[in-house]
């Protein structure tokens, strides 16, 4: 809010104003609402309350209650309503309050959001973004720390994006809102307020977002996304001190995967380690490991490994640090890889 107030004055964003991910997302939403009258925001408590994470803080005041709509507690109904809004030409952006509360909307997402374009031979696009704060590490109550992204990667017809920095959050959300495909936008809530950085220019990028090489390296390709990216960066730093050189790839797009970037890196480092919070079985890491095995088998000097969540419910938070991949676990696995 205060950040935005600062910005309202000038057209150009001061390149040196460092913002959090929450502020970056807010800016992207504000810009979209400003730019395109068809953009609407829908969600529980997103109006005067600004959302439980304050991402939409001040946006209802600025753009009106007809564009920033507080919704009853009805996730399926809200997503279904957004489908109808797409039919009427709008670009709705839905905020689901927490990860697990996307489950009640799964039928609408799987059968309509993901298939309406297909069902109408391309006549009607689902220009919809579903924003989903996800993941653990914030001492949240039960069922407020799930990582369901793989479900949306498996259901055909959606794009799934996930930023790990304020700048990426801004860019990717801008791209998602402008996209004519439906996008599930995974927001790593653990990173909402941790880091600050200046925002890039106001224009969303051109083509669909690909992976980003966070740091180049020669020994192991570390692939991750969301809140595990800083964990991996910490591990990379520790390993550098031991002389192990890590190439860290931030996927940013979970469906489709930028397999080119990953494979290209693995072909150079000959080793691949995949890190995420979500449970192992049929997760994004499984798809990545499968792709690496299929397309880079003969380049591998060691098996592709995964440091991921166990196939168990996200625990009550007293144990969450034991559930989440730690820099230490990542580093240990990387050492194992180079030791092969």
């Amino acid at each position: 809010m205060s950040f935005r107030a600062l910005e309202r004055a000038g057209v150009e964003r001061a390149a040196d104003t460092a913002v959090t991910m929450v502020e970056a997302l807010q800016q992207a939403l504000d810009d979209a609402l400003e730019r395109d009258p068809q953009v609407l925001l829908l969600g529980e408590d997103i109006g005067r309350n600004g959302g439980v994470f304050r991402v939409t803080d001040g946006l209802q005041l600025r753009h009106g209650a007809q564009r920033v709509l507080d919704m009853p507690i009805a996730e399926a109904g809200t997503v279904g309503l957004a489908v109808g809004l797409c039919l009427a030409g709008y670009r709705p952006v839905v905020e689901i309050q927490f990860d697990s509360f996307s489950y009640p909307a799964l039928e609408q997402i799987a059968t309509h959001v993901a298939r309406y374009r297909w069902r109408t031979n391309g006549a009607v696009a689902m220009r919809m973004v579903i924003r989903l704060p996800f993941g653990g590490g914030v001492r949240a109550p039960e069922l407020h720390s799930d990582s369901p992204e793989a479900l949306f990667c498996h259901l055909p017809g959606l794009r799934v994006l996930c930023p790990s920095t304020p700048a990426d959050a801004f860019e990717l959300l801008g791209w998602a809102i402008a996209s004519d495909d439906p996008v599930i936008f995974m927001e790593p809530k653990r990173l909402y307020r941790g880091t600050r950085m200046p925002l890039p220019g106001a224009q969303p990028g051109e083509g669909p977002p690909g992976a980003r090489i966070v740091c180049s390296g020669t020994d192991v390709t570390l692939v991750s996304y969301g809140a595990s990216v800083p964990t991996c960066a910490a591990a990379a730093e520790a390993l550098a001190a031991e002389g192990i050189s890590i190439e860290l790839v931030d996927l940013r797009s979970l469906w489709p995967l930028d397999s080119e970037t990953v494979l290209d890196s693995v072909r150079r480092t000959h080793r691949c380690l995949i890190v995420h919070e979500a449970p192992q079985s049929c997760g994004v890491g499984a798809e990545l490991a499968a792709l690496v095995g299929e397309h880079a088998l003969h380049d591998l000097h060691a098996p592709p490994l995964r440091v991921v969540g166990p196939d168990a419910p996200f625990p009550l938070f007293a144990l969450e640090d034991d559930y989440l991949p730690s820099a230490e676990r990542v580093a240990t696995a990387a050492r194992r890889l180079v030791g092969f």
Binding site: L85, G89, P104, G157, L257
Partner: protein
């Protein structure tokens, strides 16, 4: 039989209105005859193995054509599988709609062309769509309204509830039209809800509810017209319960004798809406037996021609597997079409 200009003779205003009403009824009958011909033809085609499973609507023509007659061409319809022929009433080629039951993607229509959403398969999920569309159009300054169709069984689903509740909260201009035909596959409505009537649910959403005889096409038309005009005027949604009876099976694969007394279903045949409207027009002298026969023959002929065009459709392009899923098929899908994984 229907010649509006010829009928509009220089008479008193009142009799003009009577004449216009008679014309409306004749047009309504024509639409119902088309639905009847379509439905019977589809069943025949299915029996011949030329269509896969087909959900017939024999006996519900009055609700469908009645509702359609009550709204404008720009008002959107949100049907289920049971109202699959609605686009035909708005000019869609019958063979195109029928080819959907052939598993042919060319049976998928452009909703904008007929102001009609795709027939919805997952029960009740179309209700919030209609509410969103209706609110969205109103918010954009239009006075178009939406009519969403659903069955008695659909009222048990969460999406019915969330959708209707949202309609109430947002005062969306939508007519929520429940075809209470007493059955959801084998489940009687008494097993679906303990409510005395579906319309009793309206108060729980703070909206108006009206019950109407679904076998009386004109009554349905009049009730939906009032609901649509209320919606258009900004007075919010109406829940309309059109009561009838599912005289036929649920779909071609269904065998109602397993779960209900065929004799009871037979007694309902006497109420069916097409004969009812035709008889009334005949009795009032607004239609002759010959004219009725001609209308019937025309509808039948149209469907015979449509069946021929259906048979002539060529094979479906394999590329359709990956097309229209996204704006453009991402490289992964192109690879998969070629049998590769990435």
């Amino acid at each position: 039989m229907i010649d509006v200009t010829a009928e509009a003779a220089p008479e008193a205003a009142a009799s003009e209105r009577v004449a216009a009403a008679a014309d409306d009824d004749l047009l309504l009958l024509r639409q119902m005859l088309l639905l009847r011909a379509y439905d019977e033809r589809a069943v025949t085609l299915q029996r011949q193995g030329r269509l896969s499973a087909y959900p017939m609507f024999w006996g519900e023509e009055g609700i469908q054509a009645g509702a359609l007659a009550a709204v404008r061409e720009s008002d959107w319809l949100f049907p289920t599988y049971r109202q699959n022929a609605l686009p035909v009433l708005r000019g869609a080629p019958p063979e195109q709609v029928l080819s959907y039951f052939n598993g042919d993607p060319r049976g998928l229509l452009d909703p904008r062309r007929y102001a009609c959403a795709p027939q919805c398969v997952p029960v009740a999920t179309q209700i919030p769509h209609a509410v969103g569309w209706a609110w969205g159009r109103a918010n954009a300054g239009s006075d178009d309204v939406a009519v969403v169709f659903f069955g008695d069984g659909a009222t048990s689903e969460g999406d019915f509830h969330e959708g209707v509740n949202l309609a109430g909260v947002l005062r969306a201009p939508v007519v929520l039209l429940c075809t209470n035909n007493g059955w959801a596959i084998s489940t009687p409505v008494a097993r679906q809800t303990a409510a005395k009537a579906i319309v009793d649910k309206a108060a729980g959403y703070g909206i108006v509810g009206v019950q109407v005889d679904g076998f009386d096409a004109r009554a349905v038309r009049d009730v939906v017209a009032v609901a649509a005009e209320r919606a258009r005027a900004g007075a919010g949604p109406t829940l309309v319960e059109a009561t009838c009876y599912r005289i036929g099976p649920h779909a071609t694969a269904d065998d109602p004798a397993r779960y209900r007394d065929p004799a009871v279903a037979e007694t309902w045949r006497a109420h069916e809406p097409v004969a009812r409207l035709a008889d009334s027009l005949l009795a009032r002298g607004l239609l002759t037996e010959d004219e009725l026969e001609l209308e019937r023959a025309n509808a039948h002929a149209r469907m015979v021609e449509a069946s021929e065009r259906l048979a002539a459709q060529g094979p479906v392009d394999r590329r359709r597997l990956i097309e229209h899923v996204h704006v453009e098929p991402p490289p992964l899908l192109e690879a998969q079409l070629g049998g590769r994984t990435a």
